[in-house]
Structure formats: C-alpha cells, structure tokens
Amino acid sequence: MRADDVLYPTEAGLYCAPGDFHIDPVRPVPRALITHGHGDHARAGHGSVLATRQTLEIMAIRYGEDFCDRRQVADGPVEVNGVRVSFHPAGHVLGSAQIRVAAPGAPVIVVSGDYCRTPNPVCAPWEPVACDVFVTEATFGLPVFKHPDPAAETRRLLASMAEFPDRAHLVGAYALGKAQRVIALLRQAGHDRPIHLHGAVQRLTDYHVAQGVELGDLRPATTAGEIEGQVVIAPPSAFASPWVQRFRDPVICFASGWMAVRARARQRGVELPLIVSDHVDWPQLTGTLQELRPDEVWVTHGREEALVRWCELNQLRARPLRLVGYEDEAE
C-alpha cells in the first residue's frame, strides 16, 4: 500500500482509510485521533476520541465532560482496525503528541501536529520518531522566522516593568500553553511577585499546576488597585473587550512568534511585542527534516510554498496537503 492510500486529506481533515479514522478533524467524525488540545485541532462532537490523557482532560475542561461519546487514552501503541498507532511528545503544549501511523505493508507515517523543539518548561520535549513520510506544519515556514531565546524575551518584559513600574503589563497569550509558558519563563527569570490571570486562562492554568507544573503565586486579575504595576496574563481577545478598561495606562504586550514581524505587532496595537513561540522556527523546521531525512515530506498548513521550495533545493520530496481549517493565528 502506498502512503497516499493510507492517509489523505478530505473535507473533514486528514483521513486514514485502512484504520477508518481522522487525525485532528475539523468536522465531527466517528473516530478521531487528536494531536493536541488547541481549538483548531481538537474540536467537540466526535464519536470516539483517541489522544493523550492530558489532551483528553484539556478537551474536557474546554468543552465539558461530554465533548465526545467515547474517550480512549493513548498509552503505548494501539491497534485501530489493524493500523498500529502510537503517540510521541511534540513539545508544543501540555499533552501534545505526534502520531505515528503504521499500516501493514505500508510506509510509516508520522503526523507531527504542531511541534516545537525549544525547551519548554510546561511540557515534555519533542522526540524524533523515524518514519518514511513526515507530515509537518509550516506555521513559521519562512527563513525570516528565527525565534530568539525566550529567556531574552522575558528579560525584555522585565526591563519594561522596571522602566514603567506603575503601569500594569498585560501580556496577551493563548490560554492553552502560551499563558503557562510565559508564567514559567517569568519564574525562571526570577520574577517571584504574584502574577495575575484573566478569567479565561484560569482553569487551564489550574490544570497545569495540578499536573505538577510549578507556576508560583497566581491570583485573579480582579481588584483594580492590586494590579497596577503587575503582570497580567490574558487571552489576546481580551484586549478588544471592555475588560481592559479597568487598567489605567497599561503596557499591552503580546507573546507570539508573529511578533518577529513589526507590521504584525503594529496591526495588533501592541506596545511590547514578545517573540515567544510554541512552534518550530525555520532553522528547527529545516533542521528536523535534515535530521529525519524521510522519503517524503507532506506539509499540512502554514507557509507551505516556502518549505516545499526549501525541500526542492535540498533534494527532499515534498508536497503541500492544503488542509483547511487550521488557524494561522493559533500560535
């Protein structure tokens, strides 16, 4: 069986025909395998869901306990209709995994989901998994994306807090993964004052703490007087809501890989862009392909054109899958 017959894109997402399951489907399907808990990859309403324990628990927090009919924890290799699947850490967010798909007599395919190779204090590191076909994202698939050391970005945040000690620093960070990573980075940099949380990041942060991630003194961002001059973590969408109006003269910060591009930061009205990404940057992305040297590279979403061009220049067979439904901004 050829790799194309094992796994191919459909309207609902990547479909494995011999195993009769979808990976990260964007529509409700009878059987879904989920790489990680971000909303564009993990949706509610499937029949059965196979994912890591943490991804399942995160989905339950986000969508309620009835987010699917049946849950199955990926714990070691599993057979799904005769296709052997296994989950391996992706280093993206808590619970994130790459999914290895081995159908009998077919090339081994690894669907990496979103992944990151920079050490991240809030999740397990990415592991290389040998494969014939590597299915990769290309969110930051342009040679301009070289994410700086997150510790250096954290120091820039602390420097701004020293420069403007009376102004609250509101850090926009996605509720799953980035929010907790920014907190952990601040703790690693020695910031031991309380960090305040917008309500929308509270539950997922509590979950990280329950999973043993040390995040220090966390408080809700409620009382106006208490939060002046403090760090407040909020989902980026909060900056468009009247919630921001409680702060007198805040410094609006945003932690995202997109902040490397000034026009992006300006467009969002960010005063302090922090380049912190949970995705591979260009050197990591191309380095991973060099390291794995698969027979073929399939590109799911992002800047696939540039990555395919790089593969061509480096004698790697590659093609874009043109999957729809994954958000560019899901960083």
């Binding site: 301009v144 591009v261 467009q267 540039a306 790089w310 220049l313």
Partner: protein, 547 residues
C-alpha cells in the same frame, strides 16, 4: 548597537509621547558618549550619512539567498530592511558601538560598501541588524521630532528646553559638549551665527476672560494663518526657524534672499500675490521640501509679516517693553516688498475687538492676537501677557463610520473615530477625530461602537451609520490623498448628536463650498448654533502641533 536597537524598537511601538520621552531620557542617561549623541542625531534626522540604496541591499541579498525564498519572505514581511535583518544568517559576536557603525558608513568607499555592510550584518543579532540597516538607509521611521529629543535632554539636568534650544543650532553630533553641560559642565558657547532664540507663545482666551482685563493696557493685531517663524540674519548667515527651532530655510529661498537686515525678527510666513495673502493650503505646498522649483517660487511667492523684534541694530531688545520694540519695528526699513509689518488694530473696548474679529478683512485671518503693551519678549508660553482669540471653529454634522481602539490611557476604548458626509446616497469618509469629548462621552461612544459594529478589521470596527457627530475644525483644504478630495484641519468632536437622524447629516458639497467660500457668510460656524452643553471639553491646541 544593542542599546540603540532596543531604543528604536521601544520607540517604534510606543504611542504615548510621555512614555517615548521617558524611554529616550533613560537611554541618554545610561549610554556613554559618543554613542548617545549619534543616536540622538539619528533619531532627529541630523545624522548625515551617505545613504545606502535599496538596490545595493537587494544585490547583497541575491548573492546569499535563494531568490524565491527571499521573495516569499519579503512578501510576508513587507519591508526590505526588516526582511534582510531577519533572514540574514549572522553569528552575533560581541557588539558594535553606534560610533563604529557611523564610522564604517562615513569612511567606507563606494566600492567597498557592500562587503563592509555584509561584514557588519554577519556579526550582529537580528534587532541590531535592523537598526544598522535603518541607519544605513537613512530611514529610521520613528517619527521623533527634534523638539521631543530636546525635551528629553531637558529632563536630564538643569538646563531647560529654552536654554537648550537657544544653544542648539550650530552644534554637530555627537553633542559631547551638550551632555557635559547637562552634567554640570560649562554652557556651550554659541557655535554658529544666526542662532535660534526661544519663541514667545500665547494662551487662548475668550470674551469672558477678556472682561477682566483693561483694554487700555493691550494692543491687538490680526492672527494670520501662516507659519510662525523667526527670521535671523547675522553677519551674512540667514536662517528661518519654525517656532520649535526647526530650520526651514531650505524651503524658502525667496524669503531668505530678501532678508537684507541684521537682526532676529518674529513674524508669519505667508504666500502673497499682489498684496493678497493666500490660504494656508497654498503655503503648505511650499513646506517639507529640500529644494523648491522655480515654478513653485513663481506661483507661490512667500513673504514675511513681522510681529516683533528680538535683536535689532546689534541690540537685544527682548527685555524691553513691547511698545518700545514696536517703535523700533515701525521705524525699521526692511527694503523689501516681501517683508512688511503687522499693523495694530484700532479698538476702544473688547466689544469693538469682538466686532473686528467677527468680520476680518481676509479669510486667511484666524483671529486676533492681544498683547500687553509692557510685555517683555519671553521665550516659552508665559501665562498672561499674550493671548490668542481665535475665530469660532467651523462645524459639520457628520456620520460615524469607523472606530479604532486607543492606546495607553484609552486602552480598550474605541476612541479614534472616522466620520463621513453624504455624497448622493453614499457616505464618504472625510476625516478622523480622537478628542473633543469628555471621559463620560468616550464611555458612551465606546458602548455605541460595540453594540453597532457591522465588521471588524483588526483594531478597527465598521459601525452602522446611525450616529451623527458634530465635528468642529479650523479649515478645509483640497486633498488628492483623501478619497473625498478634502482634508480637514484639526478636526475634533464638538457635540454628539444622539438626537439627529443620519439622513439630516451634512453633505460633502457643504464642505466643498467651504474651500472656495472662505470669504462667504461662514454658514457653519460653531458660533451660530445652539450650544448643547456649557463648555466644550478641553482640547489640545491646533497651534501646538507645529506646522
């Protein structure tokens, strides 16, 4: 380069003037000479380096990168220098001082420049690469005025802004003597002839305020809507300065040529034809040019109307009373038909003056100036001796079309409003206003925007056409840059017309009539309309923005 790069980055993203000042002051306090001086000059556009061209940079990139990958990257990033700074594979080694970077750009020959730039890029990190490339292309795009830079200097030590402005001209980067002075060293001597001296400014006034003053103690003259300048002619050196001390001589060679006097005078730059003063819009076309074409000099001849004398006949007149200076001014012979003296207005009481103000002889008059007869010439804006009593603003009733979120103290509030007028049955946007309303009104407008949003584009929301805003402004110009073909000067929201149906908002033709019809009956002035609240919310002064 690291500190300079961090400074550029913070300034580029910081909207608030005060925060910018603080960031710049801290940088200047913590950075040694000569780097801080070069940084200051680079920010204000006073660092004259040979500009590296975009085509040189493109060639540099073509040697190192796949054309297709670069094109895709440039397309995404949208800025050539930024794309190169990001894509370059450098290995940061130590740091390069700003002075070293300046020296490389100043001393490297044309043939060696590409290789020299590549060597610098190889040893810097991405932010520093961007800072270096911006410096090399002479395009910092920070939008920091020389005035703001000098204000930051004034925040560092004893010399105040007027002191600094007075010694500034003739100094060259890296300004070591200025920093030495700020740290307690000697005051730098006037290094050049024809220096700038701090300009005396006025405060706004209305009829109620004037009732408390004795008309006999004051003189009045027209307030001309041109550009307030200081014209200095000193031992063969002639300069025209804006009132914030920017040298604008280059744009007005015709005026410079006529300055056959020795002294420093305070006046208004105007475009004049056959004795008639043209509109500010015509003068504006002469601005911001390094050189002026012969055709422009012919079609838009500039001249000077003198208000006051600072230095004359080798004597500093500033400490003498206004009427003494005025006597010298009226006796002076400028020997040019392009330079004349602003006449005093004859009036007995404030009601007389009010009548004159209501019916000025020319459209380009924007009110009256009132000055105490005994006032010395004091730089800055002392409260009291000089007043401006501007004409009533013009108004139109416009429809709110778009709103954008504000920054800083207005974070989370939709506070920048784009408004439009009717043309046929379409609304055409004619301007943007972000003040004129009270805090409570801002909250009401914010609520209105949120509950009437039809579309979102990033920080901007399109709003259903339901709300009429009375917009006050100082004048209308033709504009090729705006879709509507008109541009408002200093628009602000004077009244929120919750009561008025949008169909009854004004039409674009009403505004267009105000361009030509400056002399007409002024149909839409604020004065004639019923006031809906006692006082307009405090607004910034249009004169503050500089020309």
């Amino acid at each position: 380069m690291k500190r300079f790069a961090a400074l550029l980055e913070r300034l580029a993203f910081t909207p608030s003037r005060n925060a910018k000042l603080q960031i710049l002051r801290h940088y200047l306090e913590r950075t040694p000479d000569p780097d801080r001086g070069y940084a200051l000059a680079a920010l204000t556009g006073d660092l004259k380096l040979r500009a590296v061209t975009p085509s040189l940079l493109r060639r540099l990139v073509a040697e190192r990168f796949d054309a297709e990958l670069f094109a895709l990257s440039y397309d995404f990033v949208g800025d050539l220098a930024e794309t190169i700074a990001l894509i370059w594979d450098g290995t940061p080694q130590g740091d390069l001082s700003l002075a070293e970077a300046v020296q490389i750009l100043e001393t490297t020959g044309k043939a060696g420049l590409p290789a020299a730039i590549a060597r610098v890029l190889d040893r810097l990190g991405p932010s520093e690469r961007l800072a270096f490339l911006k410096l090399a292309t002479g395009n910092l795009r920070i939008g920091l005025s020389a005035r703001l830079a000098r204000t930051a200097l004034a925040g560092m030590g004893a010399p105040d802004i007027a002191d600094i402005e007075e010694i500034w001209h003739g100094l060259t980067p890296p300004y070591a003597e200025v920093f030495d002075w700020i740290a307690g060293g000697p005051r730098p001597a006037h290094a050049a002839r024809a220096p700038f001296r701090p300009v005396m400014l006025s405060t706004p006034v209305d009829l109620d305020d004037l009732r408390g003053l004795d008309p006999a103690d004051h003189v009045a003259e027209w307030k001309w809507d041109g550009i307030r300048v200081q014209a200095v002619s000193d031992g063969g050196v002639r300069r025209l300065y804006s009132r914030t001390g920017e040298d604008v001589s280059g744009a007005f060679p015709d005026v410079i040529a006529e300055m056959n006097f020795e002294g420093a005078v305070d006046g208004e730059l105007l475009v004049r034809r056959a004795g008639e003063v043209a509109s500010f819009n015509e003068l504006q076309q002469r601005l911001n040019r390094k050189t002026v074409s012969r055709a422009m000099l012919g079609s838009h001849p500039a001249g000077l109307r003198v208000y006051d004398l600072l230095i004359w006949g080798g004597e500093d007149l500033r400490s003498r009373p206004l009427m003494d200076r005025r006597a010298v001014l009226e006796a002076a012979d400028f020997g040019s038909d392009r330079i004349d003296v602003s006449a005093l207005l004859a009036f007995d009481g404030w009601d007389d003056l009010a009548a004159l103000r209501a019916d000025p002889p020319a459209a380009v008059i924007e009110g009256v100036m009132i000055k105490r007869r005994d006032s010395p010439y004091v730089g800055g804006r002392p409260r009291g001796p000089w007043f401006k009593w501007k004409r009533d603003p013009r108004v139109v009733d416009a429809v709110l079309m778009y709103a954008q979120r504000g920054h800083g103290k207005r974070s989370g509030f939709y506070s920048d409003f784009t408004f439009g007028l009717w043309a046929d049955d379409q609304l055409v946007p004619v301007g943007k206003a972000y003040f004129g309303f009270t805090d409570e009104e801002l909250r009401q407008l914010d609520r209105f925007v949120r509950s009437n949003t039809t579309e979102r584009f990033g920080p901007v929301r399109a709003v259903a056409p339901k709300l009429v805003l009375e917009v006050a402004f100082e004048g209308v110009n033709r504009s090729t840059r705006h879709k509507s073909g008109v541009a408002l000067r200093f628009p602000r929201i004077s009244l929120i017309r919750w009561d008025k149906p949008v169909e009854e908002a004004d039409r674009l033709v009403t505004l267009e009539a105000m361009i030509e019809g400056e002399d007409a009956a002024r149909p839409g002035t604020r004065h004639g309309r019923a006031r809906r609240r006692g006082t307009e919310a405090p607004v910034a002064d249009p004169d503050e923005g500089g020309a």
